[in-house]
Amino acid sequence: MDKARRFSAVLALLVLAASIASPLSFEETGERLSRLAAALTGAEGYDPEAASFWFDPEYASFLEDVARRTPENATVAVLVPESPDLYFYQAVYRLAPRRVVGPGRRGEAGFVAAYGPSIGQAPDGQPVTHGRLETR
């Protein structure tokens, strides 16, 4: 009986360990380690933020350009695709400490930044990378 219980416990422990370790992807881990090596050696082309713009790599340069052209104490309304919600959250994060609001609060903003398909909603804006920036 003791042996059976001990065997069951050890087996359950091994199954548990294997189950909780299962999200580890060797392929993804290998890619991450390659990126880390590139970061630590200063390899050309390494972009630490690339992974966070997986949904639209061009969006990063739009936000960078808007950040360059707006003061840090400004309120910026961003007109970006609704899905995925990372479009909006990347904007509020990358443009911080600026106050970033959605289209519903456009009236409170000193700047309106329209990206990609939303460019038409800021027809009077100056062109910026992949978008337009309207000063109000």
Binding site: L13, T29, A39, S52
Partner: protein
């Protein structure tokens, strides 16, 4: 040839983490007597994070721009003051000697597994900038606002346009990230990600040290290995959020409560209070965990030691109340947008059973069934092993999970949505605390010399001088399946 910028940023963040831990040690040493060096590191780290966040708040409160020198200078000042206070009030604190340094192949092998898994997490965490949605919308956003503005702007709490950032959430994680950015002198996201492996390391060391002291060295190493292997928790998608710091908070609260139940000196009581404050400062769930632990401590001790029961419960509850009060003062009363509290009005009580049922059904189909293999393994482990030293934590953890289901019942977005969005993520943060129970049941054996009244010369692994007066800490013995102590009950 200059080094790539990541090196300098990593060095700066490491400096910030190191100074915080040192500062935490100067305070924690007043109530860490008798702990292993591993536990002391974990407690010093957690206390240091709270002090570092406080130092940042002090800098911005006086209207100064946070700089590396100002922040680290305040921390150094606090550390020196704490050291002096510790020297002045130093008394012959009872020390004790945990397990000796005798080589234990199983413990060594398990520790190697834990170390390898942690190292993998460390490397993958800093390979990319954090990319979790909650990092951009909540934790990293607030941190970057504080870092960039050099203040804690009122709008973080009062601006309806920023409701998405959850003004009601505790601020320790954002303030820690801001402070590390200030300490490093730059906002470098991959370097800031070091915060998360540091939290993971503290968690593993707290588990390892506590069980090595209270149960057996293999038990400690097993808990650390199991936790480190939990890649549902320690994975890049959780870097930048509050889940990994909360896992540390849950473990510290659990071990502090377990220590308190066994022996309540001023040190144990202070650690309870520190753990409760840390847990409440990291996530809202920390307040619930502290209250549940308070109820459990009170329940366990009330019949035999009523005064100690009350003191323990108060040590857990008062810091949570204090933290809640500070939050209200800072941001005013802002009900969470996540919950529809109108459901608690008597006229709508009738809706609650159906909503609870919806949450439970969704939980079973979306979370329990997909996780049936590890859950079944846990059940088999509990059945195949006999009563363990810290089994009482199981009830607390189960009630914590039930509390999540109850909270989802009140979700403003519907119970099913809340379960899908959050349950598995927040439930996983309790896994390291669960390993305390599992490892204590599996490996409660201890070496024969452990029954000596003092350790063999030079066998302290706590780093304490073997010349100090010593007493043994009560060790907890479950009746495990692999041990040689089947007939031992204790303490």
């Amino acid at each position: 040839m200059s080094l790539p910028p990541l090196w300098a940023a990593l060095a700066g963040v490491l400096l910030g983490l190191g100074v915080a831990t040192l500062c935490g040690w100067t305070i924690g040493r007043m109530f860490m007597a008798g702990l292993t060096g591993r536990e002391k590191f974990a407690w010093s780290f957690a206390i240091g994070l709270m002090v570092q966040a406080l130092a940042l708040l002090v800098v911005v409160a006086v209207g100064a721009r946070p700089t590396t020198a100002a922040l680290l200078g305040i921390e150094a000042g606090i550390g020196i003051a704490a050291l002096l206070a510790g020297i002045l009030r130093r008394r012959a604190a009872p020390g004790w000697f945990p397990a000796g340094r005798k080589f234990d192949a199983l413990a060594f092998a398990l520790a190697a597994v834990a170390g390898a898994a942690w190292a993998l997490f460390l490397l993958t965490a800093i390979a990319d900038a954090p990319w979790a949605t909650d990092f951009f919308a909540v934790w990293g956003y607030k941190a970057k606002i504080v870092y960039g503005a050099g203040s804690v702007p009122r709008r973080l709490f009062a601006d309806p346009a920023l409701d998405f950032a959850h003004p009601e959430y505790p601020l320790l994680v954002p303030l820690s990230l801001s402070a590390l950015g200030v300490a490093a002198g730059r906002w470098n996201e991959p370097a800031l990600a070091l915060f998360y492996p540091a939290c993971a390391l503290a968690t593993l060391l707290a588990l390892w040290g506590f069980l090595a002291r209270r149960v057996s060295r293999p038990a400690g190493a097993l808990a650390a290995a199991l936790s480190a292997l939990c890649f549902f928790l320690y994975r890049p998608s959780n870097v930048g959020t509050a889940e990994i710091p909360f896992a540390l908070a849950a473990v510290l609260a659990a071990v502090a409560a377990s220590d308190f139940v066994l022996e309540a000196s001023a040190g144990e009581t202070a650690r309870l209070a520190a753990a409760a404050l840390f847990a409440a400062s990291v996530k809202q769930e920390g307040a619930l965990l502290s209250v549940l632990l308070a109820a459990a401590v009170w329940g366990k001790l009330r019949t035999t030691e009523a005064r100690r029961a009350r003191n323990g419960a108060l040590a857990l509850v008062l810091p949570v109340a204090l933290h809640g009060l500070l939050q209200v003062v800072l941001r005013g009363h802002r009900p969470s947008r996540d919950f529809d509290l109108a459901l608690l009005s008597p006229g709508r009580w009738g809706e609650l059973p159906a909503r609870f049922g919806t949450a439970l059904a969704r939980l079973l189909s979306a979370d329990v069934l997909p996780a049936s293999v590890p859950l079944l393994a846990i059940v088999v482990l509990l059945i195949a092993t006999e009563r363990g030293a810290v089994d009482w934590l199981l009830g607390v953890l189960a009630l914590q999970l039930l509390g999540y289901v109850a909270a989802f019942t009140l979700s403003a977005y519907g119970p099913a949505y809340a379960v899908d969005a959050a349950f598995s993520r927040i439930a996983t943060t309790l896994f390291p605390a669960l390993t305390l129970v599992l490892a204590a049941r599996l490996m409660s054996s201890e070496p024969a010399w452990a029954h000596q009244t003092s350790p063999p010369a030079g066998m302290s692994d706590s780093g304490e001088s073997s010349g100090e007066s010593a007493r043994r800490a009560p060790r907890l013995h479950g009746v495990g399946t692999t041990g040689n102590s089947r007939n031992e009950k204790g303490p």
